[in-house]
């Protein structure tokens, strides 16, 4: 046993010495490989934590949101739809809501303006999301203006929403219903959507079916659908994950392609020397195995650790421009680190295994050449 360990230590000694001979090339390789692992691990950690968090906090979303569709578009819903719904078994409350979007051309920001009925706000008071306050530099007591219908409406900032909740509230503007109607011109008796509370979650689907029967022009959005949407928000098949996977795969193909045509004359000569001075074919394969392990394991560890710091300690700063797109408002949030062991194990396997195989395979043939080749 001790002999086995010593032997491996010697092989690692040799492998590292021989890797260090081409510092530039091998550190470059390690850097690129680390970068790929870093990107993949960042996406994995980010999306998993985001999904987990969305799953926890959106559990409190309304059970059913009822929208009215006109010509395929979300349209205003008249208040009398509440009466038209009639009594639905299991529904404990029905609430019409007023909300919409507002674009501020000065700061080029999109706000989500809401008129909640549980808050007591005068017509000149506003509560804003922390992202808006940060972006335009507002504090409590300052004035916040919305320009609409050739008019400017000024509100005094009554409060700023909790900055720990930016992930859901960064762009929110809360004003009174009266002010909302004046600004948007939505007449009395019209609302944006209707929210239903259902006591028993098993009845939700039935309620939704009945609703569509009674009012064919409405579309109910269920909480379980919201949750499912966020559970699959970054599916591997689509979008950024897919792009990254393809990038990683391509990079790996390039590695493999670089190695596949076989070894350089120098490498072959070295294997010949090692065999001539008493190394077995197995020793040479083991040495190459260690070479693969050293590079890929280092890349995995460094990439994963960097990704952890990036996602949870720098708020995934590299993803910000991607998610932000053309918007100017972006939430500042620290994700709660949820780690999926299986995901990390998968990444570990796909970092180490193919690389080690790709390192060993081309050496296979060279390692069984006659040791006297070096004398000829």
């Amino acid at each position: 046993m001790i002999e086995f360990i010593r032997k491996q230590a010697y092989l690692v000694d040799f492998t590292l010495s021989s890797l260090l001979r081409r510092k530039g090339k091998n550190f470059g390789l390690l850097f690129v490989y680390t970068l790929i692992v870093f990107m993949l691990a960042s996406v994995m950690l980010f999306t998993h934590s985001l999904k987990k968090e969305a799953g926890i906090i959106l559990q409190q979303s309304p059970e059913i949101i009822v929208q009215r569709l006109v010509a395929g578009r979300h349209a205003l819903i008249p208040a009398d739809y509440i009466e038209k719904m009639g009594r639905l078994r299991g529904v404990t409350s029905k609430k019409a809501r007023l909300w919409g979007y507002f674009y501020n051309p000065v700061v080029k920001a999109n706000y989500t303006v809401m008129a909640p009925d549980h808050l007591v706000l005068t017509t000149t008071e506003v509560i804003i999301g922390a992202g808006i306050a940060r972006t335009i530099g507002l504090d409590i007591g300052d004035y916040f203006t919305l320009r609409a219908n050739n008019d400017t409406f000024s509100f005094q900032v009554k409060d700023i929403l909790d900055k720990h909740s930016e992930l859901v509230s960064t762009d929110l503007v809360l004003i009174s219903q009266k002010a909302f109607r004046v600004i948007t011109g939505i007449p009395e008796g019209q609302f944006t959507d209707i929210v239903l509370s259902v006591r028993n979650p098993r009845e939700v689907r039935k309620v939704a079916e009945k609703l569509v029967q009674k009012l064919p022009d409405v579309r109910p959005v269920l909480r379980e659908e919201i949750l499912r949407t966020y559970d699959s928000i970054f599916s591997w098949r689509q979008g950024i994950v897919f792009v990254l996977l393809v990038g990683a795969l391509m990079a790996f193909v390039i590695f493999a392609w670089d190695k596949a045509p076989g070894l350089s004359a120098e490498e072959k000569r070295e294997i010949g020397i090692l065999k001539a001075i008493g190394w077995e074919s197995g020793d040479i394969l083991r040495m190459k195995f260690w070479e693969g392990i050293i590079i890929s394991l280092s890349a995995f560890m460094l990439g994963y650790l960097a990704a952890y710091l990036h996602v949870f300690y720098s708020s995934a700063v590299l993803f910000e421009p991607v998610l932000k797109g053309w918007a100017t408002l972006y939430p500042q949030f620290r994700l709660v680190p949820f780690i999926d062991g299986l995901q990390i194990a998968t990444l570990f396997f796909f970092t180490i295994f193919p690389y080690v195989v790709a390192t060993i395979i081309p050496i296979w043939k060279a390692s069984v050449t006659d040791p006297d080749a070096i004398m000829r």
Binding site: A9, Y10, V12, L16, L20, A54, I56, I57, L58, Q60, P62, I65, Q67, L69, G72, R73, H74, K95, R97, A109, N110, T112, M114, H118, G131, D162, S165, L167, V168, S169, T170, L172, R219, V221, E225, I226, R228, T229, Y230, S232, I233, F234, S235, I294, L297, S298, M301, L305, F312, V322, K324, G325, W326, A327, Y330, P331, V336, P337, F338, I339
Partner: protein, 97 residues
Amino acid sequence: MRNSSLFLLFLVAGLLFILMTVMDAVSQQDMARESLKRRATLVSELGLSDLALSTEARYTRHLSLADRHSAFQDHPTSFDHFPSGSIFLPPLHLAND
């Protein structure tokens, strides 16, 4: 110092750091319980349905409320011209039926 000892040291340090990330994650989850609760309360009070990750387009701001046509804005064949539209999957209930 031997190369193999250096590598072993590096390996152990790396494993230790990885272990530390797990412990860090657990402790942060513990500490975040309060703020998660606060976020959940805000969601329930305002009836929020989505994360405010992207504010550029209504179909990515309120992903789960998007309808089949919102990504096409004003014409059925116009291009999706918001970058975030290429990142998020459309809501599943639209994709499935």
